[in-house]
């Protein structure tokens, strides 16, 4: 049978279970696009390749499956780079396919030629330049295997135009073997180490679980819950670990880190045994590293051996996939009672509560997030931009289900929210998907509004519009003497912009209009945008100043809601 390289690739994608591709065509991938309709692959035409990569990323985070994006050579490929880097830093399974100039032109600086395998070398788990049409099946099999197993990550496949076009005599093999002698992720944890961990947990008086995205990747939320409940261990999460443990659970103490709950950070500073699961001690999580968890022995469970001991010293390392490791660990865990420790945490929580969203009179961004939680019954998938909007979305919504919070952690990519929400909605069409975004973030990828319309993707968008690049402004307010350089932001009329794309929209300026607007958005069939004109200079609190330890939390000033905050009066509680 004659098959073209493009057909072989599509056949491979179908066999990998791919149902949707986010892409943008161009010269080098034309022979692929030409055969695309022959296969049961939904193609979603984004408006910029960065949107394709973020959409594949959002799709992957929401579904746990490998997301696929596609771009042409040269600028198409380079436009994917931010999205690939984002997926790499957050361990998101993704396969990015790029076109390349035809083989005879490679290395000749041909039109739209760029060395994308070279460029993406440090931001992919692996990448391929396909020079033999017949090798496509094994490359596709390996790419999906590498992307989706072990510590997931993006894999890029670069395919020259003439490879897509080449017709060869070919029968797609029934099974394609993976031949990767250098790739064998450890799955089971070492039994002796697991035993050691169980002993440490039994001996601890103040144990604390710190759960990261690894728990979600491994699908280990049930095992985590069993561990926490059996041994009565309180749980805090990283930003990306949100959803790995129900936030309304009695043992949940929220998020740690720079904008984590003061009581969560205090818990880390007080625990005598930190059980770190599927997380990598990022500097935004640890604060000043040598003052991190000063009283604790540390158990670190992670799939990636290179994460063990990278940033902090670890007492009991366990390398393995989280779910099987926790299953084994749970067999050795005995019921315990840490009432005294939990009471201590409750006391922290009473003394250092979160910012009250219903405080004051103005339209607070926290209030908006709070109401989105109420109106969606906590059942929505929330995708965020990066900055203040992201932190408020993390702090003031209660995430009880895995993979319900989709946010750019490691790279902190502004513009992630809208395309990621788009990908999440495509992957989970029956879920309500809200994009909580800032006016700055949204404008970085706002063109994807057109994609929502053309491909009928009913994402609801809440813009927390403060007319600033808010997080940067907050840093300028707190650490640069309020010199707001390059942060005041002219914004278009987002409702009119939405209207221009035939998307329904509303502007909300008053607190009492928030719920009716949200209800209207929920009832609307299709995408909907609400432009919330929030307090311009509201800050994200609590905050651990950069370079400080988690014990030095800046908490919100209780009274002054409006206007500038007198930073000299900011309480820095040394806890």
């Amino acid at each position: 049978m004659k098959m073209s390289g493009g057909q072989i690739l599509c056949e491979g994608l179908v066999r990998e279970g791919v149902d949707v591709i986010f892409g943008f065509p161009g010269g080098a991938v034309l022979p692929l696009y030409d055969v695309l309709p022959e296969f049961p692959l939904r193609h979603i035409l984004v408006r910029h390749e960065q949107g394709a990569a973020h959409a594949a990323d959002g799709y992957a985070r929401a579904t746990g499956r490998v997301g696929v994006c596609l771009a042409t050579s040269g600028p198409g490929a380079t436009n994917l780079v931010t999205g690939i880097a984002n997926a790499y830093l957050d361990s998101v399974p993704m396969v990015a396919i790029t076109g390349q100039v035809a083989r005879p032109f490679i290395g000749k600086d041909a039109f739209q030629e760029i060395d994308i395998t070279g460029i993406t070398l440090p931001i992919t788990k692996h990448n391929y330049l396909v020079l033999e049409t017949s090798s496509i099946p094994s490359v596709v099999r390996e790419a999906f295997h590498i992307a989706g197993t072990g510590r997931p990550g993006p894999v890029l496949i670069d395919i020259p135009r003439d490879v897509f076009a080449e017709q060869i005599d070919f029968h797609y093999p029934e099974t394609v073997e993976v031949d990767l002698p250098g790739y064998k992720p450890t799955v089971r944890g070492h039994p002796a180490q697991i035993k050691k961990a169980a002993r440490a947990i039994a001996e601890s008086e103040k144990p604390l679980i710190l759960a990261g995205r690894g728990v979600l990747i491994s699908g280990a939320h049930r095992e985590l819950r069993q561990l926490a409940e059996t041994a009565q261990v309180p749980v805090v999460t990283t930003l990306l670990g949100i959803g790995s443990f129900p936030e309304t659970h009695v043992l949940s103490y929220g998020m740690v880190g720079m904008h984590g709950m003061a009581y969560a950070n205090k818990a880390v500073s007080s625990t005598d045994l930190l059980i770190a699961i599927g997380m990598r001690f990022d500097d935004r999580v640890t604060g000043k590293i040598n003052a991190f968890a000063p009283h604790a022995r540390i158990i670190h469970i992670d799939l990636d051996p290179a994460e063990i001991g990278k940033n902090v010293r670890v007492d009991v390392p366990i390398v393995g996939d989280i779910a099987p490791v926790l299953k084994e660990l749970n067999k050795l865990i005995t019921t315990a009672n840490h009432a005294e420790w939990i009471e201590q945490l409750e006391d922290f929580r009473r003394k250092h509560p979160m910012v009250d969203a219903s405080d004051g009179e103005g339209l607070l961004p926290q209030y908006v997030v709070d109401k989105i939680y109420e109106v969606t019954g906590g059942e929505a998938i929330i995708a965020t931009g990066v900055g203040q909007n992201q932190m408020w979305a993390a702090q003031h919504y209660w995430y009880n289900k895995p993979n319900s919070f989709i946010s750019s952690g490691g790279l902190g990519t502004m513009g992630f929210g809208l395309p990621a929400a788009m990908g999440a909605k495509v992957g989970c069409p029956d879920s309500t998907v809200w994009c909580i975004d800032g006016d700055g973030s949204l404008q970085m990828t706002i063109q994807e509004l057109a994609t929502l319309v053309q491909d009928k993707i009913a994402v609801k968008i809440a813009v927390l519009n403060n007319g600033y690049l808010g997080m940067v402004r907050q840093w300028q307010e707190l650490f640069y003497n309020k010199r707001y350089v390059a942060t005041p932001l002219y914004c278009p009329d987002f409702v009119k912009i939405a209207e221009g794309y035939c998307i329904a929209g509303l502007r909300v300026t008053r607190r009492e209009d928030v719920v009716p607007a949200l209800e209207k958005a929920m009832a609307h069939d299709g995408p909907f945008l609400i432009d919330f004109m929030v307090e311009p200079e509201e800050n994200v609190f609590p905050m651990v100043p950069p370079g400080a330890s988690l014990a030095e939390v800046m908490e919100a000033p209780r009274k002054s809601r409006k206007g500038l905050i007198d930073t000299s009066s900011l309480p820095v509680s040394n806890i």
Binding site: T117, L121, K125, P181, G182, Y183, P305
Partner: protein
């Protein structure tokens, strides 16, 4: 503080760009390599890479783990503490008028090195050995005037009946040590 030279040996698949992947990793993670030597191994389509890294045990362990994550790197081991044979080859071109050639040849003989090329006013010495031996020879001939040095960097393998490094998990010495402590 406890920085020392570590010898890592990696077995890698002969895929395009594999060396680029390794070197790029060193650069972006700020690891310093003293030398890197690559050549075919006894296994078809596999190369063996010997890397000398200067750093503390923790840093080098991080280097090893990061290298191990590269898909084309089949296996990598730190064989510093093993009983190993380590060699480097150097070519050294020294200024040598016929009047002092004799003197240079004497030194070369003591080091069991070889003169591999003689020019009008120069000789080229080939020496193999560990770095110390090469450095000693260099120090002795430096006075004559060194015109050019080319060194291969260290290559190494464990002594005795140990299988293919680093595929053979543990050398007997390492196994013994692990058992002991």
């Amino acid at each position: 503080m406890d920085d020392m030279k570590h010898t890592l040996v990696a077995l890698v698949q002969d895929h395009p760009g594999v060396l680029n992947r390794m070197v790029s990793l060193f650069r972006r993670r700020g690891f310093n390599i003293d030398s890197i030597a690559v050549g075919h191994s006894e296994i078809p389509d596999m190369s063996r890479v010997t890397i000398v890294v200067n750093g503390s045990g923790a840093i080098v362990e991080q280097v090893r783990k990061q290298l191990d994550k590269i898909i084309d790197v089949v296996k990598v081991a730190d064989i510093t503490d093993d009983n190993i044979t380590a060699r480097e080859l150097a070519l050294i071109k020294v200024k040598a008028t016929s009047a002092i050639r004799r003197e240079i040849i004497e030194i070369v003989d003591i080091f069991r090195a070889h003169i591999v090329d003689v020019g009008q006013d120069s000789v080229t010495i080939q020496i193999t050995g560990d770095e110390d031996k090469i450095e000693s020879l260099l120090n002795l001939v430096r006075g004559f005037g060194i015109m050019e040095i080319s060194r291969t960097g260290r290559i190494a393998m464990p002594r005795g009946n140990v299988g293919s490094t680093p595929l053979a998990e543990k050398t007997p010495e390492k196994a013994k040590r692990l058992k002991a402590g």
